[in-house]
C-alpha cells in the first residue's frame, strides 16, 4: 500500500452557521493525481491553502506525509511541498532571470549561508516544463504561458512529495494545458509525487487524473477513474440550471449516455 501523503479528517473552515468548508475528509496516497472541481466560491482555493499551511483550519485534522500539520511542524513539512497558486499579479515587476525565479523554489533558497544555487536542479526543472532554452531570459519579457511554466518549474525544483496546484492552466492554451496535465501524470507515475489540482474544467483533466473530488462546501462525490458522477451531484454543486452534455466516454464522470463535460 502506498504511503499516505495527505490525510484530511473532518476539516471545517469558516463560521459555524455558514461554513466555507464543512466536514471535508480525504486520503490521498503517493503517486495519486487528484483533481478538485466545483463552482466559484465552493472553497476549492481555501482547501488548497489550508493543506498548504497558509490558512489554519477552524476544525478537523490534517496529516501531511504521515505527520500532523501544526504551526511547529509546518516549516519542515512545507519543504516537501510544491505550491502553485492562482495568479493575481499578472505583470511581474522585479528584474529577474528565469533561472533566478526557479531557484526561489529550492528548499534552502532563503538561507543566509546559501551561496550559489543548485544549477543542475534548476536546469532539470526547466527541462521538465520545456523552458531549458530560456534560463537566462528576463522573466518579465516572457509570455503569460511561459511565465506559468517557469512558476511550475519553481514548484517542481524542490522535487516535492506533494504538489498543490490552484488552476494552473488558467494562462495556458489548450496544447500547453494538455502538455501540463501529461507532465503531472508522468511525475506522479515515475517519481511517486502526489498532485492535488483545482480546475474548473473537468473535461480537460478527467483523462489524466486518478480521481476527481466534487466540492461545494462539502465533498459531494469523490469519483475514481472509470467511475460515473451521478447527475444529482452536478445539480447539488451547480444548481438545477446546468446543462449536462455528453462527452468522451473514457474519462472520470463520463459513461456512455448522459454524461457531463460542460456546465453552464
Amino acid at each position: 500500500m502506498a504511503q499516505s501523503i495527505v490525510k484530511v479528517s473532518h476539516l471545517r473552515f469558516g463560521p459555524a452557521h455558514k461554513p466555507i468548508l464543512d466536514n471535508i475528509s480525504l486520503n490521498v496516497e503517493a503517486g495519486h493525481f487528484m483533481g478538485i472541481v466545483g463552482p466559484n466560491g465552493a472553497g476549492k482555493s481555501t482547501l488548497i491553502n489550508i493543506i498548504a499551511g497558509l490558512t489554519p483550519a477552524d476544525g478537523g485534522h490534517i496529516d501531511l506525509m504521515g505527520e500532523c500539520l501544526t504551526r511547529y511542524s509546518r516549516h519542515r513539512l512545507l519543504k516537501q511541498i510544491g505550491f502553485l497558486h492562482q495568479l493575481h499579479d499578472h505583470q511581474p515587476r522585479l528584474p529577474m532571470r528565469v533561472s533566478d525565479v526557479v531557484a526561489m523554489g529550492l528548499p534552502d533558497y532563503a538561507m543566509p549561508w546559501q551561496f550559489g544555487d543548485d544549477k543542475k536542479a534548476i536546469l532539470e526543472a526547466l527541462t521538465l516544463v520545456d523552458m531549458q532554452e530560456l534560463t537566462e531570459r528576463d522573466f518579465r519579457q516572457l509570455s503569460g504561458g511561459q511565465r506559468q511554466r517557469v512558476r511550475l518549474a519553481r514548484a517542481l525544483v524542490r522535487k516535492p512529495k506533494l504538489l498543490l496546484l490552484d488552476e494552473p492552466s488558467a494562462a495556458l492554451d489548450s496544447v500547453s494545458q494538455d502538455r501540463l496535465f501529461r507532465l503531472l501524470r508522468r511525475l506522479c507515475d515515475e517519481s511517486g509525487m502526489c498532485a492535488i489540482m483545482v480546475e474548473h474544467d473537468i473535461a480537460a483533466i478527467s483523462s489524466h487524473v486518478d480521481s476527481v473530488a466534487c466540492l461545494n462546501r462539502q465533498i459531494h462525490h469523490h469519483a475514481m477513474k472509470g467511475e460515473n458522477i451521478p447527475d444529482d451531484v452536478w445539480r447539488a454543486m451547480y444548481g438545477e440550471h446546468i446543462q449536462i452534455v455528453a462527452h468522451d466516454a473514457g474519462c472520470i464522470g463520463c459513461t456512455p449516455g448522459s454524461q457531463e463535460a460542460n456546465h453552464e
Binding site: 499551511g53 502553485l84 511581474p92 515587476r93 522585479l94 526561489m104 528548499p107 519553481r154
Partner: protein, 277 residues
C-alpha cells in the same frame, strides 16, 4: 576640474565627512533595492517625517538626538507594518496619519523647547559636514547592523517581494520577515537624516534603486548597480556642495535625481532604437 577635486579632497571638513557619506550611500543603496521591490517608497517618506517627533521628544527632554530618534523611527515603522492588518486601515492611509501627526508633534515640541542647540535646518535638510565623533560612531554601528541583516535576509525578502504567497507556502516566516524589513527601514531613515535630513531622506532610499531598476537583470546585479549609482550621486553631490556652497543633502539628492533622468532617458532611447530594428 582637477583643481576642484584636489581642493575638495584637501578640505578637512570634506575629508572628515566623506567616509560617513559614502557609508550612508552604500547602506541606503542596498536598502533602496528592497524599498523598491516591496513598494515601500511612501513608507520611507512617512517614517522619515515621523522621526521629527522622536527628535522633538529628545530635544524636549534633553536626551541624545540620534538614539531617541532611532527608537522612535523603528517603532513608527513597526506600527505602520502592524496597523493595516489589525485595524483594516490601508497602509498608505496609516502612513499619512502617522506622518502628519508625528510631524506636527515634532514641530510643536521643537518650537516650545527651551534649548537653543537644535539646528532645525540641519534636521530638516541634513548636513553631513557637521557630523560629530559621537554621531559618527552611532552611524558606523547602525550601518554595520543594517548591512549584516541585509546580507542575512535579502534572499528571503526578495522571494517575498516576488511572490509572498509562494514564499509563505515554502515555509518562510513572511510576517516576521516583513516586520524586520520595516524595522530596518526605520533604522536606515535615521542613518540618512544626518546626510539628507528628514525631508530629503526618501530620496536616498528610492533613487539609487530607481536608477538601477531599468538596467538590473537579477538581485545581485541590481544591488551592485544601485550601490554604484548611489556612490556616484553622493560624490557628485558633495563636490557640488563644496564648489557652490550648496546644502550637502540637497546636492546629493539633486545629483541622484540627475542620474535617474539620465538613466531613464538612455533606457528609453535604447528601447526605441531596439523597437525600430
Amino acid at each position: 576640474m582637477i583643481e576642484l577635486l584636489t581642493s575638495f579632497l584637501a578640505s578637512s571638513v570634506m575629508s572628515a565627512s566623506l567616509l560617513p557619506a559614502l557609508l550612508i550611500a552604500v547602506v541606503t543603496a542596498s536598502m533602496s533595492v528592497m524599498v523598491m521591490a516591496h513598494r515601500l517608497s511612501f513608507l520611507t517618506v512617512g517614517v522619515s517625517h515621523a522621526s521629527l517627533a522622536g527628535l522633538g521628544i529628545a530635544v524636549s527632554l534633553s536626551l541624545p538626538l540620534l538614539p531617541v530618534a532611532t527608537i522612535f523611527s523603528v517603532a513608527i515603522a513597526l506600527l505602520l507594518a502592524l496597523m493595516p492588518k489589525r485595524q483594516g486601515i490601508s497602509e498608505d492611509a496609516g502612513t499619512g496619519i502617522l506622518f502628519a501627526g508625528s510631524m506636527a508633534l515634532g514641530i510643536v515640541l521643537i518650537s516650545t523647547a527651551t534649548t537653543t542647540r537644535v539646528d532645525l535646518f540641519g534636521l530638516l535638510f541634513g548636513n553631513i559636514l557637521t557630523v560629530s565623533a559621537d554621531e559618527k560612531l552611532w552611524l558606523y554601528l547602525l550601518a554595520s547592523l543594517i548591512l549584516i541583516i541585509m546580507l542575512l535576509a535579502s534572499r528571503a525578502w526578495w522571494s517575498i517581494a516576488f511572490d509572498a504567497v509562494t514564499a509563505e507556502a515554502s515555509g518562510l516566516p513572511v510576517n516576521a520577515l516583513r516586520l524586520l524589513l520595516y524595522g530596518l527601514v526605520g533604522l536606515t531613515v535615521i542613518l540618512c537624516v544626518k546626510l539628507a535630513g528628514i525631508v530629503l531622506t526618501a530620496g536616498l532610499l528610492v533613487l539609487p534603486a530607481a536608477c538601477a531598476w531599468l538596467w538590473g537583470r537579477s538581485l545581485a546585479h541590481l544591488w551592485m548597480l544601485s550601490v554604484a549609482f548611489s556612490i556616484i550621486g553622493t560624490l557628485a553631490g558633495l563636490i557640488w556642495s563644496y564648489a557652490y556652497e550648496w546644502p550637502s543633502g540637497a546636492s546629493v539628492v539633486l545629483a541622484l535625481c540627475g542620474l535617474f533622468v539620465i538613466s531613464w532617458a538612455v533606457h528609453g532611447i535604447r528601447a526605441a532604437i531596439a523597437t525600430q530594428k
